[in-house]
């Protein structure tokens, strides 16, 4: 293990606040290295403080050259609490701007956080690069296969990607990881859910509009393509994109130009598109609901996130991780995952996937005795989600009555932790009737109500 002690670099343009750096460093348990502006600056430090109090303009001029070669975040410390000045410092390469003395506590907190991070890093000497997929927890082959494919395209910031997977499987998390781990990191990541925006507004939202383009367009507005320029535009639920807009999206992808609604000029944009869908786009193409040319344009590298029910013991791993994170959030003891809890977790099919699991664990954590997870507290959230599944879970939509009745019966059973009598009471049917509903298969006669 490396025994490097983190250091704080200070390059001083003036004597302002010069006495505080040793105090801060001592308080945070790190060393201080001082430099003059003309010195060779350090390649490694936790942070390099550009102490500019009174000499802001001169320090500002030096920033662009340093930001490229100093291997540490540049923290610009001045005496001017000017909003615009701070923006200028950030634009020239500073990681943050602090106006002392007002921002002293803020600066101290930020340094403490950076030092903590640096200490964590030095204790993991074999991990020079943080894993961008670290938030996609799981060891199942199904997930690991997707992550392996994603890793291979990580460096190619121009490749269009299509992520498939049910609701709650982590499609945006994967898109975000691809952005953060790739060459466009640091540029905008703009996420939009195509299903959440009314069709008549979606064009203006994506491509912007000029003033007077329509009744309510009192002023011009850039679209999300322009907002994402240089970065990534994540188009969630792309299957809901109306046919009328699919052609415009295809042109934007091919020409790398967009035209605002009501506009006469095209604007160049450099945007990487990551699209996602929970529906079968190939089927949508066959049914002529989705343009074939756009499908193939998007489907350059398909990535599919598996549903939680197909990820084996990942459900337990995730539940433990959520329990630990959430216990910290709510200042509660970390609960043990007992065999009874494991049983409930494994038995439920999690139609809402990881997101449903997270909420179920949170619910159980908050409603159980501190330090425990009551299996019964996991159940109500599970039952509720089963009804959601009729629209966007594993049950196809539209579904046959048989399928829906079977799902309702299964949901009631889940909600009551496998207790068939309780489930039957809840549904208002006999236990035998419940069993018949559970045993039904597609094609059985459903009309026996």
């Amino acid at each position: 293990m490396s025994d490097i002690t983190p250091t704080l670099g200070v390059v001083a343009f003036s004597a302002s606040f010069s006495t505080i750096w040793n105090d801060i460093a001592e308080e945070l348990g790190v060393g201080v290295e001082r430099f003059e502006p003309d010195d060779e600056l350090p390649g490694r430090a936790v942070a390099l403080i550009v102490a500019a109090g009174g000499e802001e303009e001169r320090a500002l001029d030096a920033l662009p050259a340093w930001s490229a070669r100093v291997g540490a975040p540049l923290l610009f410390v001045g005496a001017r609490a000017s909003h615009r000045f701070a923006i200028e410092a950030l634009r020239r390469g500073a990681a943050d701007y602090f106006a002392l003395p007002d921002d002293l506590d803020l600066l101290r907190r930020m340094l403490a956080a950076r030092i903590e991070t640096a200490r964590g890093r030095t204790s993991k000497e074999a991990q020079p690069v943080t894993d961008p997929f670290r938030e996609l927890l799981g060891t199942s082959p199904a997930l690991q296969e997707t992550i392996a494919t994603a890793s291979r395209v990580l460096a190619h910031g121009g490749v269009t990607l299509l992520i498939g997977g049910e609701t709650g499987t982590g499609k945006e998390l994967l898109a975000r990881a691809l952005h953060d781990g790739g060459p466009r990191a640091g540029e905008p990541f703009v996420a939009v859910n195509c299903a959440a925006i009314p069709e008549q507004l979606l064009e203006s939202e994506l491509f912007g509009h000029e003033r007077g383009a329509f009744t309510d367009a009192h002023r011009a507005k850039p679209g999300l393509f322009e907002e994402a320029d240089g970065g990534t535009l994540f188009l969630d639920e792309i299957g809901h994109l109306p046919l009328s807009l699919q052609g415009k999206l295809l042109r934007a992808l091919d020409d790398r130009k967009v035209r605002r609604v009501g506009g006469t000029q095209s604007r160049g944009v450099d945007v990487r598109i990551v699209a996602a869908t929970h529906v079968d786009l190939a089927a949508a193409v066959r049914e002529r609901r989705f343009r074939e040319d756009l499908f193939y344009r998007l489907n350059v590298v398909p990535l599919v996130l598996p549903p939680l029910r197909d990820r084996g013991d990942d459900v337990l791993l995730l539940a433990e991780a959520f329990a630990s994170q959430l216990a910290a959030r709510y200042s509660l003891p970390v609960p043990r995952i007992t065999p009874a809890v494991r049983d409930v977790l494994k038995r439920h099919n999690w139609p809402g996937n990881v997101r449903e699991l997270q909420h179920a664990v949170e619910r159980a954590l908050l409603l159980s005795e501190p330090g425990t997870l009551d299996p019964a507290s996991l159940a109500p959230a599970s039952g509720k989600s089963a009804s959601r599944a009729t629209a966007d879970g594993p049950i196809p939509f539209p579904a046959t009555l048989t399928t829906i009745q079977h799902a309702a019966a299964q949901a009631a059973l889940d909600r009551n932790a496998g207790n068939k009598s309780a489930a039957a009471r809840q549904l208002g049917v006999s236990r035998a009737r419940l069993q018949r509903l559970l045993d039904r298969k597609e094609g059985d006669d459903a009309d026996d109500a």
Binding site: A15, G54, L201, K221, K384
Partner: protein, 327 residues
């Protein structure tokens, strides 16, 4: 240590740390020559706004704007325009406030000030929400969030997610509201802001209650109330009390709904925030009706309607009117 004397520093720090009465007092004690500075007017406008004196805030912000413009300080002018718009917003002139924020947005775009662009977009989103233009509000919040995220300003990211959650809740899209509130909570944790944590928690609680899980919703709302009180954030406290009342009403705890609603209105009145008062009156009216206090309900509905009309929130005023007529 080499420092320059800055007579406005104490007021600036007080405003930044939320001590608005201290800021106003510090500004009032400054010598006459300092009180001619454009920033003095700007800080006075900010303090007055936070203290609920929107008229004074607006007047001082306009003065600040003129003085910043006279000295060619475009940055100061832009900030003054933004505060003036906020003052107008507080007075309930939503159309005029919208113009002001739009002007500030334009100035910020000209200066390439991404942070101010994001702030103005967020404010314009709030106006759209008050006008019940939900899709426009969501669009503004989306734009603001992109700007805040680009600058790594997690406070702003959290605020836009909170506002997004409120917008979805207003539309009864509780799943979306919960998702937005989840994001708000993550951002608030990254920002390390107790105030934002409280607001995010409250929105999660309200969304969970809306999704049919009032027990868990109430736990989140109670936690949020504790944080709001410990932070002495009266506006957040009024909002959480109102949401607790709504959640209580949803599970049939009518007396509890009235108690929470009355508490909410009392706290909202202390903040002088016209929107918070109107919202509290509206929800309290529903609680009064539920317990059969029809005269109180009618009075509260009428007060809410009048307040919404003063604010220019016509759709909400009409809704309150319809509900009152239904009693």
């Amino acid at each position: 240590m080499q420092t320059t004397h800055d007579p406005l520093r104490a007021a600036r720090v007080a405003i930044r740390t939320g001590r608005f009465r201290d800021a106003a007092a510090a500004l009032a004690e400054l010598p006459p020559d300092t009180r001619q500075a454009p920033e003095w007017y700007l800080l006075s406008a900010m303090a007055a706004w936070r203290l609920g004196d929107f008229s004074a805030s607006r007047q001082q912000a306009f003065e600040a704007r003129a003085r910043f413009r006279a000295v060619g300080d475009a940055d100061g002018e832009m900030r003054a325009v933004n505060v003036a718009a906020a003052g107008v917003f507080g007075l309930g002139a939503l159309a005029e406030a919208e113009d002001g924020f739009s002007r500030a947005l334009q100035l910020a775009q000209q200066q390439g000030d991404g942070l101010m662009v994001a702030r103005c977009a967020n404010n314009l989103g709030n106006i759209a929400l008050y006008l019940s233009q939900h899709e426009a509000a969501l669009s503004f919040y989306r734009r603001a969030r992109t700007g805040f995220a680009q600058l790594g300003f997690e406070h702003g990211v959290a605020e836009t997610w909170i506002n997004t959650a409120i917008t979805y809740r207003d539309r009864r899209r509780y799943e979306d509201a919960l998702r937005a509130a989840d994001r708000a909570l993550d951002a608030a944790e990254r920002a390390g802001s107790a105030r934002l944590l409280a607001e995010a928690q409250a929105n999660r609680g309200a969304a969970m209650a809306g999704l049919g899980d009032p027990k868990l919703g109430q736990i989140h709302l109670e936690r949020s109330l504790t944080i709001a009180r410990s932070e002495r954030d009266r506006l957040a406290e009024a909002d959480v009390l109102r949401l607790l009342g709504t959640a209580a009403l949803a599970v049939g705890a009518r007396a509890e709904a009235v108690r929470r609603g009355e508490e909410s209105l009392a706290v909202a009145r202390e903040t002088h925030h016209p929107w918070a008062i109107a919202e509290s009156q509206h929800d309290l009216a529903r609680a009064y009706r539920a317990v059969g206090r029809d005269a109180d309900a009618a009075s509260a509905f009428a007060a809410a309607e009048a307040a919404y009309r003063t604010l220019g929130a016509t759709a909400r005023a009409d809704a309150a009117h319809r509900e009152a007529a239904g009693s």
